[in-house]
Amino acid sequence: MSMTAESTIRENNAITSAQLLFRDMLLEGGITALLVAQHLPMKNTVMPTLITDPDELRAVDPFAPCYSMNTAKVVSKLTRKSLESPIAVVLRPCEIRAFVELVKLKQGCMDNLLVVGTECLGAYGNRDYPIFAGSEPMAATLRFYEKAQGGTTATVNGLEMAPACKACEHPVPENADLVIGVIGADMNGPASVTAKTEKGKALLEKIGREQSAQSSGREAALAKLMEERIAYRDKMFAETVEATSDLEKLMSYLGNCINCYNCRVACPVCYCRECVFTTDVFDHDPAQYLRWAKKKGVLKMPTDTVFYHITRMAHMSLACVGCGQCSNACPNGIHVMELFRTVADETQREFGYEAGRSISEDPPLSTFKENEFPEVTARTH
């Protein structure tokens, strides 16, 4: 049986070797189902799919530089209750980190779940990816890595990857059982697989695989990557702080928000069943709009936009993993990711917390420390 989906793909490149790995996992690894991204037929995009048939792996491409959605949301749906049989999920680092936050919020469960993390060099925005991928998306994936190994600023076909990815300092998955390595690797050879946990090791043993050696150039490539990304990130923080330094500027920054709430739908850690902004709380009495308008003479519509974003920041900035799905989802091109990451950077630093870092690290608002923030909890003195 052919392991390749397209003739241009050589045998045993990174994608096909990953497909082989997944096949073994389903056949011999005791894995009932595999959640992994694949190219959709008839449509030039990549979406997560839940696969139980080992023969349905032809279009699977865990490396495609496309992030239609943050798959953590899907994993949460699968694992809201303990899984009865083992499932493997193949995720990018930002997806694993979002899932870690969801688990802490009781929206998912790690039982019987095997997390396969892929190292990530970034992705294109949803509007750019189809242009980039063209008619041979798998070949495009491999081409992307050739260029992207060169660094963040690399442009392919004149397209730049998403800002969230350019500012991402987490190209290496954390909290994964198995990691598939691509950093500094030749994508035209088999991808490296490393077990990070006992669970991962057991699985590799079960399917009779050795841990593969990482490429020699990995360390240097990673260091260069990190340097570039952190520089990009810090510049982004500074620019965003400047662009939102007072209420006037913030209102202008968010000026074309239309309350579509796409950002919160796309956000992997916005876990509310129904957002408070879509409940009756914000069903204002029609006369209220006129009262507001009369007060000020002019009322920008729709109302409650800045209120909405500030509320969302208050609710989830401590869980924000910076995946950038919010910006990806915004129909009006608001730089939502930049704003949320900038705020999250500060709030998470204040609490010494990093979203997605560890399952055992309690979310700051669920822990009580008596002597925290003395400047806020001011004593009588």
Partner: protein, 1142 residues
């Protein structure tokens, strides 16, 4: 208040009085709480920070269920409860009758300000020309003659300091509500006769009295005086002793015949003082020595006038009385060693230091040097000033000073960012209470406070540095001196001012130290049946112990009420009739209170009413007259009842003051209580508009708009109360468990008592007599007999608690019985009393020789005759074995008393025995100090050792050999005692994990973790589960019983009613929005929320929920909501406020 059966009088509004009153009120008992001062709170008014949190937390004492019956704000600011009538400036004059039907005579002191009318605007202060030392700040700052007795009270009413007031009348004229009446007329009607043959004395005295507002006449001879007295009526006479013709004593005798009640003050020269003293024996009120200070003379007359003026007496019928008269902080005097107090401003007392650094103190919370305002670099605390002092007649330890000094040192460190050098000079550091040792260690090791065992000789002014220089000898006897910026004297507790008069009025006896005497093993029963004592008035307690004892006292009172048929438990109150308004749209009436009726006020009220109408915030706006007066409320209630509105908002002043009345108003209008509210439309600026009244009007409009928005959104639907299983379960059949079970069963409730062993009595079996000579065996036999025969007690012997489920008010507990069978017990409250036991040791060669034994083994053998004192030559006792060090870092509190008891026993039986007590700190707290003194007098030798030079023990030849360094002698002692007795301390008894079955957590030492050390000392963090006895903390028999009674009282608070409701502000879950993230569960500090795994929903325990709102803050999409404070309501309030202001 009508009083009568089911009512209790509580004397003293300090922490224990408040606790007792709340305990009884929560049970439905009517309470009259009287306080002689003009504000509640006692000493706690002045303490901003308390051990162990160094914060306050008094509010944690407020009721946890039926919360709407009382106030729910800062308890330190004051409180109200529908069952408590608070009478300030009131004293008890007499108590007649018998238990169950006492008649109390109360005396109300006029304050010259009508509390009902005073709105606290402060206009009077602006015009008052007199400044006087502010007692609230321990005299360290000034305030006006008309002043607020406590700055933070809410509502806060002014009072006049009659002694300082010059009666200029300025405040009377300026008061916008006419609340002040200086009673100048009454004063002018008080007639005084001055009798002296010397013109200059006669005239100037008369003049001074007239200046002070009195009416005075003068007589130049005894004859003239008698003539005047027979012709006219005088209220008081100042009488010279030595006069030609008829002398003062003769005049006094005749005057007393004519007017026996008229007070006479003798004026005497130094030479005739003895005559004056004699005169007092035949009825003179007091004497003044010439030449006298005019102020002192006026003060004395003022005192006579005040008691004369106290015509305001009232009678009250009550079933029981609780005396919680508190204590008086001791003022350092020369006799006790003042250490420069009074002479140097940098030397102050502990309480003064609290105020000195207090946020509302003279320096607004800064730490500066009193003498020059300079930086404070070094502070010394001197312990035991006025305590442990035989010369001063204080053969007791004040029990609190060690801990408050440590706390003050920690506060000083914190205030100075750790820069201040703080040193505590002490004899014994008495860290005997729960958590004390750990606190001391933290302050010593982390904060770096120095602890110096020493005797301070003196403190003198260092002229060069202009600072106190301290001279002291250390533990080795070496003399040192050191200069400090400040010296704080850890002054102790004295019996309260007027203790003997109070004792006489109440009819109780005092102990030799002047505190209230308690009987038998009880800490709260006095020598008069039906009269109970709580708090420091029974001698020397900290807050936690006072609160525990207050529970014990209220239990005593409650039992008496119950036994006399008061039936407080079942009485309850009739639920008021309610209109069904669930289908009516909100309709709001706003009532604006008219105060002075001035033109400015009218204009403002009109403007406010128009704005409210224009804004469409109310359906009906009207004015009412002076709600501060009873008529005002009556008329308002009638109008509301007649109207059709279903929500009422009152715009007045002091909304807090009306909280109680608002509930009544709602009841009158047959509305749920949450549909009526009051807001402040006066603002802090006073009744009249200021220069720019518009600001006040705008704030008032905003307040009304917000209040209205809140009421419109209030949910009128009733919430059914929770049904309670009116039974209790007690675990542990020792003294605490039996006492608790009896206390509950005596109130008529079924009580299950589960004991693990085959016999009741616990540790009482091992104690033969107490240090006070009481017989625990008799106590035990009495308790067992009552428990075994009590119709309401079901005993489970040889049984254990296998499992317990449920919540407060409805527990289901399976008890595994001795025969292996099980039984399920349903109960509404649980008391856990699993006790403690003597710790096991392997230290000091224990087990290697028969001559080395524990204190308990020693006592048993001494009592059984196995050890005869006559045959002993030498006994060594080692204290703190394995205690107060890593592993078991706490003081077991009872071992020093046991050692003293047994040492004294040995010495009494055979004075020739050498008894050595090797100790680290003798924990002879409170009255135990006298026994320590007694032991030293009896020749018991006390040798102090420290952790780094512990005694060395060997037992190579079967006889113990002890080597210890004696710091005083400066050499090593090698002892070969007949017996070595080890004080090994107390460890909690696991009791098969019974406490855990009820979700009781334990502290790092295995004792129960109480909800809050000071304020909720016998509550567990689990609602409906209460803690007592040695499992709580090591304690004496009496102290254990007190915890048991306090715990029983708390349990009765739960099971005493068939139904309990929580409060209006209870959190709820909007299940359709809930994502089950459980953040609310984690956030809830009361354990009131949990996830029901089967139903997949979050559940709220209404009785445990305190409405704090932590869950609503944790929930991102308002699936957790607080009843009455939903998003819609809150947002409309914000909108309303903004609409009104902008």
């Amino acid at each position: 208040m009508n009083g009568g059966i089911g009512s209790v009088l509580v004397i003293g509004g300090g922490i224990s009085g408040i606790r007792s009153a709340l305990d009884l009120a929560e049970r439905g008992c009517k309470v009259a709480l009287i306080e002689r001062e003009p504000s509640l709170g006692g000493i706690l008014r002045q303490l901003d920070n308390q051990f162990p949190s160094d914060h306050c937390g008094m509010c944690k004492m407020l009721p946890l269920v039926e919360r709407d019956a009382g106030s729910q704000y800062c308890l330190r600011k004051g409180f109200f409860h529908e069952n408590i009538e608070i009478m300030l400036s009131t004293e008890l004059a007499a108590l007649e009758g018998d238990p169950g039907k006492f008649i109390a005579t109360l005396r109300h002191k006029p304050t010259m300000v009508d509390a009902e009318r005073c709105v606290g605007c402060g206009e009077c202060v602006r015009v008052c020309p007199v400044e006087a030392p502010d007692a609230y700040n321990a005299g360290l700052s000034k305030r006006k003659a008309i002043h607020l007795p406590t700055p933070h009270n809410t509502p806060n009413r002014y009072i006049v300091d009659a002694a300082a007031c010059i009666r200029c009348g300025a405040c009377e004229k300026t008061c916008p509500t006419g609340a002040i009446d200086l009673r100048l007329e009454a004063r002018r009607a008080f007639r005084i006769l001055v009798v002296d043959d010397e013109l200059i004395v006669r005239d100037s005295t008369k003049e001074w009295l007239v200046d002070a507002g009195f009416r005075a006449d003068a007589a130049e001879s005894g004859m003239e005086a008698i003539e005047r007295l027979s012709a006219e009526t005088y209220n008081c006479m100042l009488l010279d002793v030595k006069m030609p013709g008829m002398d003062g004593v003769e005049v006094l005798k005749r005057a007393k015949e004519m007017h026996p009640d008229m007070p006479v003050v003798m004026m005497t020269a130094y030479a005739t003082v003895e005559t004056a003293v004699e005169a007092m024996k035949i009825g003179a009120f007091d004497y003044l020595m010439k030449p006298f200070d005019p102020d002192a003379m006026v003060r004395m007359v003022e005192q006579i006038y005040t008691s004369f003026e106290r015509s305001g007496e009232s009678k009250l019928n009550v079933s029981a009385v609780i005396v919680s008269a508190g204590f008086e902080p001791c003022t350092p005097t020369e006799e006790m060693g003042a250490y420069g107090y009074g002479a140097m401003p940098d030397v102050m007392t502990g309480i003064e230091f609290e105020r000195w650094i207090g946020g509302a103190g003279p320096n607004a919370g800064r730490l500066i040097r009193p003498s020059d305002g300079g930086e404070v670099r070094k502070i010394a605390w001197i312990q035991c000033v006025g305590s442990r002092n035989l010369r001063f007649d204080a053969d007791y330890c004040s029990s609190v000073c060690c801990m408050y000094s440590i706390k003050e040192a920690a506060l000083a460190k914190e205030l100075s960012g750790g820069k201040v050098d703080a040193a505590i000079f002490y004899m014994d550091m008495r860290t005997f209470g729960k958590g004390f040792q750990g606190y001391r260690d933290k302050v010593e090791q982390t904060d770096g406070v120095r602890f110096i065992r020493s005797r301070v000789h003196s403190v003198e002014l260092d002229g060069e540095r202009n600072a106190p220089r301290m001279f002291y000898t250390d533990a080795e006897g070496a003399l040192h001196e050191e200069v400090f910026d400040m010296v704080v004297l850890a002054t102790g507790q004295k019996p309260p001012r007027g203790a003997s008069a109070l004792a006489e009025a109440v009819g109780v006896e005092l102990n030799p130290s002047g505190f209230c005497k308690t009987v038998d093993f009880s800490l709260s029963r006095t020598t008069r049946e039906g009269v109970f004592v709580a708090g420091s008035f029974s001698g020397l307690r900290d807050i936690s112990e006072s609160v525990i004892q207050a529970g014990s006292a209220s239990l005593g009172a409650s039992l008496l009420v119950h036994s006399k048929g008061g039936g407080i438990a079942e009485a309850g109150k009739e639920a008021p009739g309610r209109r069904d308004i669930s289908r009516e749209p909100p309709s709001l009436a706003i009532a604006l209170c008219r105060c002075s009726g001035s033109a400015g006020e009218e204009a403002r009220l009109t403007a406010i009413a128009q704005a409210v109408e224009k804004g469409g915030w109310a359906d009906h706006v009207f004015r009412v007259e002076r709600l501060c007066e009873p008529d005002g409320w009556r008329l308002l209630a009638e109008q509301i009842k007649a109207g059709k509105n279903n929500r009422v908002l009152v715009g007045a002043c002091l909304p807090y003051a009306y909280s109680g009345k608002i509930a009544e108003l709602a009841a009158t209008a047959e509305l749920p209580a949450n549909l009526a509210a009051a807001v402040d439309i006066r603002g802090a600026g006073g009744c009249e508009d200021g220069e720019d009244g518009s600001g006040i009007a705008a704030a008032a409009i905003a307040a009304l708009a917000m209040g209205g928005a809140k009421l419109r959104n209030a949910d009128p639907s009733p919430h059914p109360p929770t049904e309670i299983i009116q039974k209790a379960l007690v675990v542990g059949g020792g003294v605490a468990g039996m006492s608790a079970a009896l206390a509950i069963a005596d109130h008529g409730y079924e009580t299950a008592l589960v004991e693990r062993t085959g016999e009741l009595g616990g540790n009482l079996r091992h104690i033969h007599h107490t240090i006070d000579g009481l017989r625990p065996k008799e106590l035990m036999e009495g308790l067992i007999a009552r428990v075994e025969s009590h119709p309401n007690i079901k005993l489970f012997m040889n049984a254990r608690v296998a499992h317990s489920g449920g919540r407060v008010g409805a527990f289901m507990t399976s008890v595994e019985k001795g025969d292996g069978s099980g039984e399920t017990v349903e109960h509404g409250a649980t008391v856990v009393a699993t006790g403690g036991q003597e710790a096991k040791t392997r230290s000091y060669c224990y087990g290697e020789s028969d001559a080395i034994l524990t204190q308990r083994e020693f006592e048993n053998r001494l009592q059984s005759g196995a050890i005869t004192p006559g045959s002993l030559e030498s006994v060594v006792m080692i204290q703190c074995v394995d205690s107060r060090e890593t592993g078991r870092n706490y003081c077991s509190r009872i071992c020093c008393a046991s050692a003293l008891k047994n040492a004294l026993l040995l010495k009494e039986a055979n004075p020739n025995i050498d008894v050595y007590v090797l100790y680290r700190d003798i924990m002879a707290y409170g009255a135990l100090e006298a026994h320590y003194t007694r032991a030293r007098k009896a020749g018991v030798l006390f040798v102090q050792y420290s952790l780094d030079s512990k005694p060395e023990v060997s037992a190579s030849d079967g006889r113990p050999s002890v080597v210890v360094h004696d710091p005083i002698l400066g050499r090593t002692l090698a002892l070969r005692p007949d017996l070595l007795v080890l004080s090994v301390g107390v460890v909690p008894d696991e009791h098969g994990g019974a406490a855990r079955a009820f979700g009781v957590e334990t502290d790092e030492n295995g004792f129960y973790q109480e909800a809050e050390y000071k304020w909720r000392p016998v509550d567990s963090l689990n609602g409906g589960v209460f803690l007592c006895g040695m499992g709580h903390s090591p304690r004496s028999i009496g102290e254990s019983i007190a915890t048991a009674e306090a715990a029983a009282q708390r349990a009765l608070g739960v099971i005493g009613k068939k139904h309990i409701s929580s409060g209006m502000g209870v959190s709820e879950v909007r299940q359709t929005f809930c994502s089950l993230c459980e953040r609310c569960v984690i956030a809830c500090p009361y354990g009131a929320r949990w996830i029901d795994e089967e139903e997949e929903r979050i559940v709220v325990d209404e009785l445990a929920c305190q409405g704090c709102g932590a869950c609503t803050a944790a929930c991102p999409n308002s699936a957790a909501v607080l009843r009455g404070a939903g998003d819609h309501g809150m947002l409309s309030m914000i909108d309303a406020a903004l609409d009104a202001v902008y």
